[in-house]
Structures are given as C-alpha cells and as structure tokens.
Amino acid sequence: MLPPPPRRADPRRTFAAAALLAPGVLLLALILVWPFLVMLGMSLRERFPGPIGPSFAKYAEFLTDPYLLNVALRTFSLAATVTLLCAVLGYPIAWFLARSRSRWAHLVFLGTIFPLLVSIVVRTMGWTILLGNEGLVNAALLGLGLVTEPLRLMQGFWSVVLGMVHVLMPFMVLSIAAVLGRIDVAYAEAAATLGATPLRNFLSVTLPLSVQGVAAGSVIVFCLTVGAFITPIWLGRGHVTVMAIAIHEQMVTLVDWPGGAASGILLSLATLLLLGGYGLLLRRWARR
C-alpha cells in the first residue's frame, strides 16, 4: 500500500521525519501501547488492589469457566457469520460501484457510506422500531393476517446478526470496491474471448484477483464485530451475551479488573490468531 520510498534516507531528513512524527507517536504510546501493557500487567494479578503477581490465575479461571468459554464461542461465531454475510451480500454492491457506468453509481456510493456516519444508537433504535413487538414488521404481518400475535423478532442471535451486518456492510463494500476498481477489465475480456462462461470467468479470474479486497474488508468487519457492545446488548435484549458485554460486566458490575484484563488479552490474542489463519488460507486459495 505504501508508495516506494521517495528518496534515499539521509540523516537530516530522518531527523525531520522523527520530529514530525514525535507528537503522534507520543500520543499513541501513551494512549494505545501503554494501556495495552498496563492491561497485560493487570491480567497477571490475582486481584486488584493486591500483589503484582505474576499469576496466571485469571487466565486459568477464564479457560475453565463454561460460561465465559460459551460467550467467547458465541462472539466468534457472531463475528464469522457477520463477516460472511457482509462479504456475500456486499460483493455485488461493490461490483456495481466499481464496474457500472450508471449515472446512479455515485448515489449508490453515498447510500453506502451514509449509514456509516449516522450514530450507531440511532441505527439500533431504528431496528427496534422495525422489529419490536409493535414495530413495522409485526404491524405488517398482523395486518396481512399472516400471524395472530406479534412475533418476538428481537432478543435473538439473528437480530444481532442483522443489526451488525447493517452497521458493518459499508466497510466491506468499500474495501472490495477499492480493489475491484484497480483490476484491469482486459483479464476478464481475455477469458471471455477464450470461451469462458460468465460464471467461470468470475470464479477463476475476477474473484481471485479481488480476494485482497474481501480479505481487507473481512479483517475490519471481524474485528469491529468482536469488539462491539451496543448492537449485541440492545438488539439481543440480554439474551446474546458476547465478550464485550462480559468484559463490561467483569469491569463494572463485578469490579474484577484482573479478570476483565485477562478476558481482553485473550480476546485480542484469539482475534489475532484467527485473522492470521484466515490470511494464510486466503493467500493459499488465491495462489491456486
């Protein structure tokens, strides 16, 4: 992604770059790196306030607690489901944005990024109005006589999936569209000339070439789902406990900071490992 270095490094320019970067790096060191280290230290305590440790008690507690393991499993299946749905549902929109010469393309682009900029609380409340017991969907179903009493559409895993897909789809669409826009159409045209059907052409030429965009979008969507709090708690109505809710519980309700820290570190590590494996898998598939 970075352009080739513009010039040979010379000490004076290196010094200038260091001076320009100093405030940014200092800020990130203080509010990103240092907190992460403090959290790591906190996770190695048995209790807080208390001796500094190191002890792996909180990690052992997490890994033997069926409730927390279940929450972790639910979090990652939610993230995987949301990522997959965003990729499948978002790909055609990205295709439209990158390839269509329609005069509506710019409007579709605005329609894609606008939700991204509307407050997440507003969007989640919109789903409440749509899916609630007296919401639009139930009103329509009752009006059409399809059901006799309101369906409980909220408070399930799938209502959270719906809300998260809605929130995160724009990230996926923009990532895929950016890569699709850079692919030379000549490849697909060559394949078509050589007799490839449109489907085969897509599967063996365009899709592998655009896999970078799907990968980048997946990483963003997956990470944002893993760390999400408001959509699961609001649309799940307390029935879909994910890691973010569990960490909030540990930190605020139980005031167990070492426990919350251990959960946080494990969540970051697991996310990193899963994404690493996913990256390897995609690279192998694209090279095939």
Binding site: A9, L32, V33, T128, I129, C223, G227, I230
Partner: protein
Amino acid sequence: MTARTGRRLLNAYVVAMMVFLALPIAIVIPSAFGEGGDLSFPPRGFSLKWFGAILERPELMAAAANSAAIALVATAVSLVVGTLSAVALRRYSFPGRGALMTLFMAPLVFPAIVLAAAIAMVLAPLGLIRTFQGLVLAHIVVVLPYVVRTVSATLAEIDRAWEEAALTLGASPWQGFRTVTLPLLRPGLVAGATFSLIISFDEFTISLFLVGSGMMTLPIEMYNYAEFSLDPTLAAVSTLLILLTTLAVLAVERTVGLGKQFS
C-alpha cells in the same frame, strides 16, 4: 442468462440493499412526529411536542454539549498531530515506516471494548475517569487513524514537483509547506475533520468506562435513557442527529467530493 438480464438483476439487487441500508435510519424520522407515547409504527397523529421534550431533559442537553466539546477538541488535536504524521509517513523514508503506518491504523481494528478497558485502567489511577480531559484523550486515539488516512490519501495525489519548485525558488521547507502543500491539502483536511467530528460525537464503546454521573456523552446518555423508557423523545434527538449528519455529508460532498476520500 444474457448480459442484459444479469445487469437488471444486479440493479434490482442494489436497489434492495440500498433500501435495507436506509430503512432503519429513515424509519426513525416519522416516529419523532407521532402523538403517542411509544415508538410504534406507523405513528399515530402528528405532533412536534417530542422536540420540545428534549429541552426538558437537561441530562440529554448536557450530554450533547459534552459530546460536541469533546469532538471539537479531539478533532483539533488529531488534525494537527495527524497531518504532521501523515506528512512524515508519505514524504520521508526511514526505517520502520511500514510498522509505524500499522501502528497509526491499529486503533481502527483493535477490538474497541479491549481498548476502552485498557485506557480506563491507565486513566483511573490518574483521576481522569469522568473527566473531560480523559474522554478527549481516548477519543483522539479513535479519530487519529481517520485523519492520518484522509490526509495521506490527499498527499499522495499532490504532485511533489510543486513543493520542489518552491524549494528551488528559495522557500524554506516550512514556507514551502505552508504556502504550497497546506492549501493543496485542504480537501483532505476538510474531509478528515468532518469524519473525525462525526466519529467522536457518535463514539460509544471507547467512552463506556470513562463516563459517569456529571460527565456523560450523548450516545451513552441516549442508551441509558432508552433502557429506562423508549419514548419518541429519543426519536426526536435521533432525527436531529440524522439531519446534522446529512448536512455534514452534503457539505463535504459539495466542497471536496466524498468519492475522492474513499477511493
């Protein structure tokens, strides 16, 4: 399937997805104008009373003022710091440049809840929980990547020959930056500042452990309010937020073009 039917299918699909993306946002607006005290749809009657009701909720007003002030200060700081960093990352070569770029983008993908908890653990012993300064610090980390990204994307578009011409004509590097590069950077700065303002104003998770009585942000106050009663006052606040966002997006679109900032 002919190419033409394929294209029609794609168009129909895109329209359906646009409806999916717009519906939960659009549906909030009519709900703010109903007469009934609940958020049912379709709303009954027509009334503007829920907009008046916002004024009778001092906690919502105070939270909105806090969020606006936090967004302004966090944006101002990250605009300066982010621009300096973007210039260094784009215009200079030095060892570890790629790693630094990753560090600057890291807050975008780091699980938000973990970052929130970690920042709270650092700020708590310093007495910065439930303070304006604490929230500003946390929000800077969240918006900085957006500023660095938009500014460095614009920098990549600027032909270096302009800057080099200024230097050849005897300008100092600072003069060259201030009189040539900075004016050319304007689109990136406008877009970066707008996104940063919106993202900070809407930020929920990062503020979660840092707010408390006396120092609330609007999204969290709205969430607390909804827990307690889901009445159209919130729909009215949301309608105003949607209006603000629309105006901001249109302003960026008119002045610098949104498409450039995302491609």
